[in-house]
Symmetry: C2
Subunit: 201 residues, 2 copies
Protein backbone atom coordinates (compact mmCIF):
# COMPACT_ATOMS: atom_id res chain seq x y z
CA UNK A 1 0.00 0.00 0.00
CA UNK A 2 1.14 3.50 -0.71
CA UNK A 3 -0.11 5.25 2.37
CA UNK A 4 1.29 3.58 5.41
CA UNK A 5 -0.37 5.53 8.16
CA UNK A 6 -0.40 2.70 10.65
CA UNK A 7 -2.06 2.95 14.02
CA UNK A 8 -1.90 0.64 16.99
CA UNK A 9 -4.79 -0.11 19.29
CA UNK A 10 -4.66 -1.91 22.61
CA UNK A 11 -7.20 -4.58 23.46
CA UNK A 12 -10.39 -2.84 24.52
CA UNK A 13 -9.81 0.46 22.79
CA UNK A 14 -12.37 1.93 20.44
CA UNK A 15 -11.37 2.70 16.87
CA UNK A 16 -14.46 4.64 15.95
CA UNK A 17 -17.91 5.03 17.41
CA UNK A 18 -21.39 4.63 15.96
CA UNK A 19 -22.51 8.08 14.85
CA UNK A 20 -19.02 9.44 14.22
CA UNK A 21 -17.94 10.79 10.87
CA UNK A 22 -15.05 8.80 9.48
CA UNK A 23 -12.22 10.38 7.56
CA UNK A 24 -11.19 7.21 5.79
CA UNK A 25 -11.28 3.48 6.09
CA UNK A 26 -8.93 1.02 7.71
CA UNK A 27 -7.17 -2.10 6.66
CA UNK A 28 -6.41 -4.58 9.44
CA UNK A 29 -2.72 -5.57 9.59
CA UNK A 30 -2.99 -7.69 12.71
CA UNK A 31 -5.31 -8.28 15.62
CA UNK A 32 -9.04 -8.78 15.87
CA UNK A 33 -11.77 -6.16 15.89
CA UNK A 34 -15.37 -6.55 16.91
CA UNK A 35 -17.91 -4.51 15.02
CA UNK A 36 -21.15 -3.85 16.80
CA UNK A 37 -24.24 -1.70 16.96
CA UNK A 38 -25.70 -0.34 20.12
CA UNK A 39 -29.42 -1.00 20.40
CA UNK A 40 -32.11 1.13 21.94
CA UNK A 41 -31.48 -0.01 25.49
CA UNK A 42 -27.71 0.21 25.20
CA UNK A 43 -27.18 -3.48 24.58
CA UNK A 44 -24.57 -4.21 21.96
CA UNK A 45 -25.19 -6.44 18.97
CA UNK A 46 -22.04 -7.77 17.37
CA UNK A 47 -22.42 -7.68 13.60
CA UNK A 48 -19.14 -9.21 12.57
CA UNK A 49 -15.43 -9.38 13.32
CA UNK A 50 -12.51 -8.11 11.27
CA UNK A 51 -9.11 -9.78 11.22
CA UNK A 52 -5.91 -9.42 9.24
CA UNK A 53 -6.67 -8.55 5.63
CA UNK A 54 -10.18 -7.29 6.31
CA UNK A 55 -11.20 -3.67 5.94
CA UNK A 56 -13.51 -1.65 8.13
CA UNK A 57 -15.25 1.66 7.81
CA UNK A 58 -15.62 1.65 4.05
CA UNK A 59 -19.40 1.53 4.19
CA UNK A 60 -19.63 4.91 5.85
CA UNK A 61 -17.05 6.39 3.51
CA UNK A 62 -18.89 5.23 0.42
CA UNK A 63 -22.29 6.27 1.74
CA UNK A 64 -20.81 9.48 3.16
CA UNK A 65 -22.83 8.84 6.29
CA UNK A 66 -21.82 8.64 9.93
CA UNK A 67 -20.65 5.22 11.06
CA UNK A 68 -23.52 2.87 11.83
CA UNK A 69 -21.32 0.66 13.99
CA UNK A 70 -18.75 0.92 16.74
CA UNK A 71 -15.44 -0.90 16.27
CA UNK A 72 -13.32 -2.08 19.14
CA UNK A 73 -10.08 -4.03 19.25
CA UNK A 74 -10.46 -7.27 21.19
CA UNK A 75 -6.82 -8.13 20.64
CA UNK A 76 -3.96 -5.70 20.22
CA UNK A 77 -4.45 -4.47 16.69
CA UNK A 78 -2.50 -2.67 13.99
CA UNK A 79 -4.43 -0.75 11.37
CA UNK A 80 -3.43 0.92 8.18
CA UNK A 81 -5.46 4.04 7.61
CA UNK A 82 -6.46 5.12 4.10
CA UNK A 83 -8.10 8.50 3.51
CA UNK A 84 -11.51 8.89 1.90
CA UNK A 85 -10.36 10.41 -1.40
CA UNK A 86 -8.10 7.49 -2.16
CA UNK A 87 -10.92 5.00 -1.72
CA UNK A 88 -13.32 6.99 -3.87
CA UNK A 89 -10.66 7.49 -6.53
CA UNK A 90 -9.93 3.81 -6.61
CA UNK A 91 -13.58 2.90 -7.02
CA UNK A 92 -14.01 5.49 -9.77
CA UNK A 93 -10.84 4.92 -11.73
CA UNK A 94 -9.84 1.35 -11.11
CA UNK A 95 -12.45 -0.97 -12.52
CA UNK A 96 -10.92 -4.12 -11.08
CA UNK A 97 -10.77 -2.57 -7.63
CA UNK A 98 -14.39 -1.52 -7.94
CA UNK A 99 -15.45 -5.04 -8.82
CA UNK A 100 -13.45 -6.51 -5.95
CA UNK A 101 -14.88 -4.08 -3.45
CA UNK A 102 -18.37 -4.74 -4.79
CA UNK A 103 -17.75 -8.45 -4.33
CA UNK A 104 -16.70 -7.90 -0.75
CA UNK A 105 -19.73 -5.77 0.00
CA UNK A 106 -22.03 -8.26 -1.65
CA UNK A 107 -20.49 -11.05 0.39
CA UNK A 108 -21.15 -9.14 3.58
CA UNK A 109 -24.66 -8.41 2.41
CA UNK A 110 -25.29 -12.06 1.69
CA UNK A 111 -24.03 -13.01 5.13
CA UNK A 112 -26.12 -10.34 6.80
CA UNK A 113 -29.24 -11.57 5.01
CA UNK A 114 -28.53 -15.13 6.03
CA UNK A 115 -28.08 -14.06 9.61
CA UNK A 116 -31.37 -12.21 9.62
CA UNK A 117 -33.06 -15.45 8.63
CA UNK A 118 -31.19 -17.41 11.26
CA UNK A 119 -31.85 -15.05 14.08
CA UNK A 120 -35.49 -14.80 13.11
CA UNK A 121 -36.10 -18.50 12.80
CA UNK A 122 -33.64 -20.49 14.86
CA UNK A 123 -33.57 -21.05 18.59
CA UNK A 124 -30.81 -19.68 20.78
CA UNK A 125 -29.28 -23.13 21.03
CA UNK A 126 -29.13 -23.55 17.27
CA UNK A 127 -27.64 -20.10 16.84
CA UNK A 128 -24.95 -20.67 19.45
CA UNK A 129 -23.93 -23.93 17.81
CA UNK A 130 -23.80 -22.16 14.47
CA UNK A 131 -21.73 -19.28 15.82
CA UNK A 132 -19.19 -21.68 17.32
CA UNK A 133 -18.81 -23.33 13.93
CA UNK A 134 -18.44 -19.96 12.23
CA UNK A 135 -15.83 -18.77 14.71
CA UNK A 136 -13.94 -21.97 14.15
CA UNK A 137 -14.01 -21.55 10.38
CA UNK A 138 -13.16 -17.86 10.45
CA UNK A 139 -10.39 -17.83 13.05
CA UNK A 140 -9.20 -21.40 13.13
CA UNK A 141 -7.74 -23.33 16.03
CA UNK A 142 -4.34 -23.36 17.69
CA UNK A 143 -2.20 -26.47 17.87
CA UNK A 144 -4.27 -27.78 20.77
CA UNK A 145 -7.53 -27.35 18.91
CA UNK A 146 -8.62 -24.30 20.89
CA UNK A 147 -10.46 -21.56 19.01
CA UNK A 148 -8.15 -18.72 18.04
CA UNK A 149 -10.65 -16.14 19.21
CA UNK A 150 -11.56 -15.85 22.86
CA UNK A 151 -14.68 -13.99 23.86
CA UNK A 152 -16.46 -13.29 27.10
CA UNK A 153 -19.79 -14.95 27.70
CA UNK A 154 -21.35 -11.55 27.29
CA UNK A 155 -19.76 -11.09 23.89
CA UNK A 156 -21.00 -14.47 22.78
CA UNK A 157 -24.46 -13.42 23.94
CA UNK A 158 -24.11 -10.22 21.93
CA UNK A 159 -23.43 -12.17 18.76
CA UNK A 160 -26.17 -14.70 19.25
CA UNK A 161 -28.62 -12.07 20.42
CA UNK A 162 -29.53 -13.47 23.80
CA UNK A 163 -28.81 -13.06 27.50
CA UNK A 164 -25.45 -13.86 29.04
CA UNK A 165 -27.03 -16.43 31.34
CA UNK A 166 -28.49 -18.32 28.41
CA UNK A 167 -25.04 -18.61 26.85
CA UNK A 168 -23.61 -19.93 30.10
CA UNK A 169 -26.31 -22.55 30.44
CA UNK A 170 -26.01 -23.66 26.83
CA UNK A 171 -22.23 -23.80 26.87
CA UNK A 172 -22.30 -26.09 29.85
CA UNK A 173 -24.98 -28.16 28.18
CA UNK A 174 -22.75 -28.48 25.10
CA UNK A 175 -19.86 -29.43 27.36
CA UNK A 176 -21.85 -32.04 29.23
CA UNK A 177 -22.83 -33.56 25.90
CA UNK A 178 -19.20 -33.56 24.79
CA UNK A 179 -19.68 -31.20 21.91
CA UNK A 180 -17.07 -28.83 23.33
CA UNK A 181 -14.47 -28.46 26.05
CA UNK A 182 -14.33 -25.24 28.07
CA UNK A 183 -11.49 -23.68 29.96
CA UNK A 184 -12.42 -20.17 30.94
CA UNK A 185 -12.69 -18.32 27.65
CA UNK A 186 -10.89 -21.03 25.77
CA UNK A 187 -13.28 -23.17 23.82
CA UNK A 188 -12.32 -26.33 22.02
CA UNK A 189 -14.71 -27.98 19.62
CA UNK A 190 -14.77 -31.73 20.10
CA UNK A 191 -17.62 -32.74 17.84
CA UNK A 192 -17.97 -30.46 14.85
CA UNK A 193 -20.44 -32.64 12.95
CA UNK A 194 -22.57 -32.84 16.08
CA UNK A 195 -22.59 -29.08 16.44
CA UNK A 196 -23.40 -28.61 12.78
CA UNK A 197 -26.28 -30.97 13.15
CA UNK A 198 -27.49 -29.06 16.19
CA UNK A 199 -27.23 -25.84 14.20
CA UNK A 200 -29.09 -27.25 11.21
CA UNK A 201 -26.33 -26.56 8.74
Amino acid sequence: MLNKITETYKRGSIIYRQGNRIKGFCCVRSGIIKIYQTGFDGKEQIIRFAKVGDIIGYRSVISSEPACTTTEAIKDTVLCHIPTEILLNLVKNNGDFAVELMKLTCKELGEANAYITDIAQKTVKERLAEILIHLDEEFGEDTLGVLNISLTREELANIVGTATESIIRLLSEFRSKNYIEINGRKIKILDKPGLKHLANI
Copy 2:
Protein backbone atom coordinates in the same frame (compact mmCIF):
# COMPACT_ATOMS: atom_id res chain seq x y z
CA MET B 1 -31.86 2.06 -20.81
CA LEU B 2 -30.42 0.49 -23.88
CA ASN B 3 -31.59 -3.06 -23.45
CA LYS B 4 -35.31 -3.13 -23.13
CA ILE B 5 -35.91 -6.78 -22.50
CA THR B 6 -39.01 -6.25 -20.44
CA GLU B 7 -40.83 -9.08 -18.75
CA THR B 8 -44.20 -9.15 -17.04
CA TYR B 9 -45.00 -11.14 -13.94
CA LYS B 10 -48.41 -11.78 -12.48
CA ARG B 11 -49.02 -11.45 -8.76
CA GLY B 12 -47.69 -14.55 -7.07
CA SER B 13 -45.25 -15.63 -9.76
CA ILE B 14 -41.62 -16.31 -8.96
CA ILE B 15 -38.94 -14.34 -10.77
CA TYR B 16 -36.03 -16.41 -9.59
CA ARG B 17 -35.44 -18.94 -6.88
CA GLN B 18 -32.89 -19.22 -4.11
CA GLY B 19 -30.09 -21.43 -5.40
CA ASN B 20 -30.64 -20.60 -9.08
CA ARG B 21 -27.93 -19.15 -11.25
CA ILE B 22 -28.95 -15.77 -12.58
CA LYS B 23 -28.09 -14.59 -16.06
CA GLY B 24 -28.43 -10.93 -15.28
CA PHE B 25 -30.12 -8.53 -12.99
CA CYS B 26 -33.47 -6.80 -13.15
CA CYS B 27 -34.70 -3.28 -12.86
CA VAL B 28 -38.24 -2.87 -11.58
CA ARG B 29 -40.44 -0.80 -13.90
CA SER B 30 -43.64 -1.23 -11.95
CA GLY B 31 -45.14 -3.47 -9.31
CA ILE B 32 -43.83 -4.78 -6.01
CA ILE B 33 -41.57 -7.73 -5.39
CA LYS B 34 -40.89 -9.52 -2.15
CA ILE B 35 -37.41 -10.86 -1.64
CA TYR B 36 -37.07 -13.69 0.83
CA GLN B 37 -34.94 -16.53 2.03
CA THR B 38 -36.23 -19.95 2.87
CA GLY B 39 -35.03 -21.15 6.25
CA PHE B 40 -34.16 -24.64 7.37
CA ASP B 41 -37.73 -25.69 8.08
CA GLY B 42 -39.10 -24.13 4.91
CA LYS B 43 -40.37 -20.97 6.57
CA GLU B 44 -39.77 -17.86 4.55
CA GLN B 45 -38.02 -14.79 5.90
CA ILE B 46 -38.71 -11.64 3.92
CA ILE B 47 -35.51 -9.63 3.61
CA ARG B 48 -36.80 -6.62 1.72
CA PHE B 49 -39.15 -5.44 -0.99
CA ALA B 50 -38.35 -3.94 -4.36
CA LYS B 51 -40.52 -1.37 -6.09
CA VAL B 52 -40.28 0.86 -9.14
CA GLY B 53 -36.72 2.05 -9.63
CA ASP B 54 -35.15 -0.66 -7.49
CA ILE B 55 -32.93 -3.38 -8.86
CA ILE B 56 -32.80 -7.03 -7.88
CA GLY B 57 -30.41 -9.87 -8.48
CA TYR B 58 -27.26 -7.79 -8.79
CA ARG B 59 -25.69 -9.31 -5.68
CA SER B 60 -25.55 -12.75 -7.22
CA VAL B 61 -24.28 -11.38 -10.52
CA ILE B 62 -21.44 -9.50 -8.85
CA SER B 63 -20.53 -12.37 -6.56
CA SER B 64 -21.03 -14.86 -9.39
CA GLU B 65 -22.86 -17.05 -6.94
CA PRO B 66 -26.29 -18.66 -7.06
CA ALA B 67 -29.09 -16.44 -5.79
CA CYS B 68 -29.36 -16.43 -2.02
CA THR B 69 -32.95 -15.25 -2.13
CA THR B 70 -36.19 -16.01 -3.89
CA THR B 71 -38.06 -13.13 -5.51
CA GLU B 72 -41.79 -13.12 -6.06
CA ALA B 73 -44.13 -10.51 -7.45
CA ILE B 74 -46.80 -9.54 -4.94
CA LYS B 75 -48.37 -7.15 -7.41
CA ASP B 76 -48.38 -7.43 -11.19
CA THR B 77 -44.87 -6.42 -12.07
CA VAL B 78 -42.87 -5.29 -15.10
CA LEU B 79 -39.15 -5.88 -15.10
CA CYS B 80 -36.37 -4.78 -17.36
CA HIS B 81 -33.75 -7.47 -17.69
CA ILE B 82 -30.08 -6.57 -18.08
CA PRO B 83 -27.49 -9.24 -18.87
CA THR B 84 -24.52 -9.95 -16.63
CA GLU B 85 -21.82 -8.63 -18.97
CA ILE B 86 -23.41 -5.22 -19.17
CA LEU B 87 -23.48 -4.87 -15.39
CA LEU B 88 -19.87 -5.96 -14.99
CA ASN B 89 -18.78 -3.68 -17.81
CA LEU B 90 -20.53 -0.75 -16.24
CA VAL B 91 -18.89 -1.34 -12.86
CA LYS B 92 -15.49 -1.72 -14.46
CA ASN B 93 -15.59 1.10 -16.95
CA ASN B 94 -17.97 3.65 -15.57
CA GLY B 95 -16.63 5.04 -12.33
CA ASP B 96 -19.73 7.01 -11.48
CA PHE B 97 -21.90 3.97 -11.97
CA ALA B 98 -19.58 1.94 -9.76
CA VAL B 99 -19.83 4.51 -6.99
CA GLU B 100 -23.60 4.65 -7.27
CA LEU B 101 -23.96 0.90 -7.16
CA MET B 102 -21.59 0.75 -4.20
CA LYS B 103 -23.72 3.32 -2.45
CA LEU B 104 -26.81 1.27 -3.05
CA THR B 105 -25.18 -1.90 -1.79
CA CYS B 106 -23.82 -0.10 1.27
CA LYS B 107 -27.26 1.26 1.99
CA GLU B 108 -28.72 -2.22 1.88
CA LEU B 109 -25.91 -3.47 4.07
CA GLY B 110 -26.53 -0.75 6.61
CA GLU B 111 -30.22 -1.58 6.68
CA ALA B 112 -29.50 -5.28 7.04
CA ASN B 113 -27.18 -4.63 9.97
CA ALA B 114 -29.74 -2.44 11.65
CA TYR B 115 -32.35 -5.12 11.21
CA ILE B 116 -30.11 -7.75 12.75
CA THR B 117 -29.89 -5.58 15.84
CA ASP B 118 -33.62 -5.01 15.91
CA ILE B 119 -34.59 -8.59 15.47
CA ALA B 120 -32.05 -9.68 18.08
CA GLN B 121 -33.05 -7.15 20.70
CA LYS B 122 -36.60 -5.98 20.22
CA THR B 123 -39.81 -7.76 21.06
CA VAL B 124 -42.26 -8.90 18.41
CA LYS B 125 -44.54 -6.01 19.28
CA GLU B 126 -41.80 -3.44 18.82
CA ARG B 127 -40.75 -4.98 15.55
CA LEU B 128 -44.28 -5.04 14.16
CA ALA B 129 -44.75 -1.38 15.03
CA GLU B 130 -41.46 -0.59 13.36
CA ILE B 131 -42.30 -2.55 10.23
CA LEU B 132 -45.60 -0.74 9.87
CA ILE B 133 -43.75 2.59 10.03
CA HIS B 134 -41.22 1.38 7.49
CA LEU B 135 -43.88 0.15 5.09
CA ASP B 136 -45.60 3.50 5.40
CA GLU B 137 -42.40 5.38 4.62
CA GLU B 138 -41.36 3.11 1.77
CA PHE B 139 -44.66 2.67 -0.03
CA GLY B 140 -46.71 5.60 1.17
CA GLU B 141 -50.45 5.85 1.58
CA ASP B 142 -53.33 6.28 -0.84
CA THR B 143 -55.71 9.21 -0.67
CA LEU B 144 -57.60 7.59 2.19
CA GLY B 145 -54.47 7.05 4.23
CA VAL B 146 -54.32 3.32 3.59
CA LEU B 147 -50.88 1.76 3.13
CA ASN B 148 -50.00 1.29 -0.52
CA ILE B 149 -48.76 -2.22 0.12
CA SER B 150 -51.09 -4.95 1.22
CA LEU B 151 -49.73 -8.11 2.74
CA THR B 152 -51.21 -11.23 4.22
CA ARG B 153 -50.85 -11.79 7.95
CA GLU B 154 -48.42 -14.54 7.14
CA GLU B 155 -46.25 -12.22 5.07
CA LEU B 156 -46.19 -9.70 7.88
CA ALA B 157 -45.12 -12.53 10.16
CA ASN B 158 -42.38 -13.44 7.71
CA ILE B 159 -40.98 -9.94 7.82
CA VAL B 160 -41.15 -9.56 11.57
CA GLY B 161 -39.89 -13.08 12.13
CA THR B 162 -42.74 -14.47 14.17
CA ALA B 163 -45.82 -16.65 13.92
CA THR B 164 -48.91 -15.61 11.97
CA GLU B 165 -51.05 -15.84 15.08
CA SER B 166 -48.83 -13.40 16.92
CA ILE B 167 -49.26 -10.86 14.13
CA ILE B 168 -53.02 -11.27 14.26
CA ARG B 169 -53.14 -10.75 18.00
CA LEU B 170 -50.86 -7.74 17.89
CA LEU B 171 -52.66 -6.11 14.99
CA SER B 172 -55.93 -6.32 16.84
CA GLU B 173 -54.23 -4.97 19.94
CA PHE B 174 -52.93 -2.02 17.90
CA ARG B 175 -56.40 -1.51 16.52
CA SER B 176 -58.06 -1.61 19.92
CA LYS B 177 -55.60 1.04 21.10
CA ASN B 178 -56.36 3.16 18.05
CA TYR B 179 -52.89 3.03 16.58
CA ILE B 180 -54.26 1.59 13.35
CA GLU B 181 -57.42 0.80 11.47
CA ILE B 182 -57.78 -2.58 9.76
CA ASN B 183 -59.93 -3.64 6.88
CA GLY B 184 -58.86 -7.05 5.69
CA ARG B 185 -55.39 -6.50 4.32
CA LYS B 186 -55.82 -2.78 4.19
CA ILE B 187 -54.05 -1.09 7.05
CA LYS B 188 -54.34 2.56 7.88
CA ILE B 189 -52.02 4.15 10.40
CA LEU B 190 -53.91 6.47 12.74
CA ASP B 191 -51.22 7.34 15.27
CA LYS B 192 -47.78 7.36 13.71
CA PRO B 193 -46.03 8.99 16.68
CA GLY B 194 -47.61 6.43 18.95
CA LEU B 195 -46.37 3.58 16.80
CA LYS B 196 -42.91 5.07 16.60
CA HIS B 197 -42.83 5.32 20.33
CA LEU B 198 -43.93 1.72 20.62
CA ALA B 199 -41.17 0.74 18.21
CA ASN B 200 -38.52 2.73 20.05
CA ILE B 201 -37.53 4.83 17.08
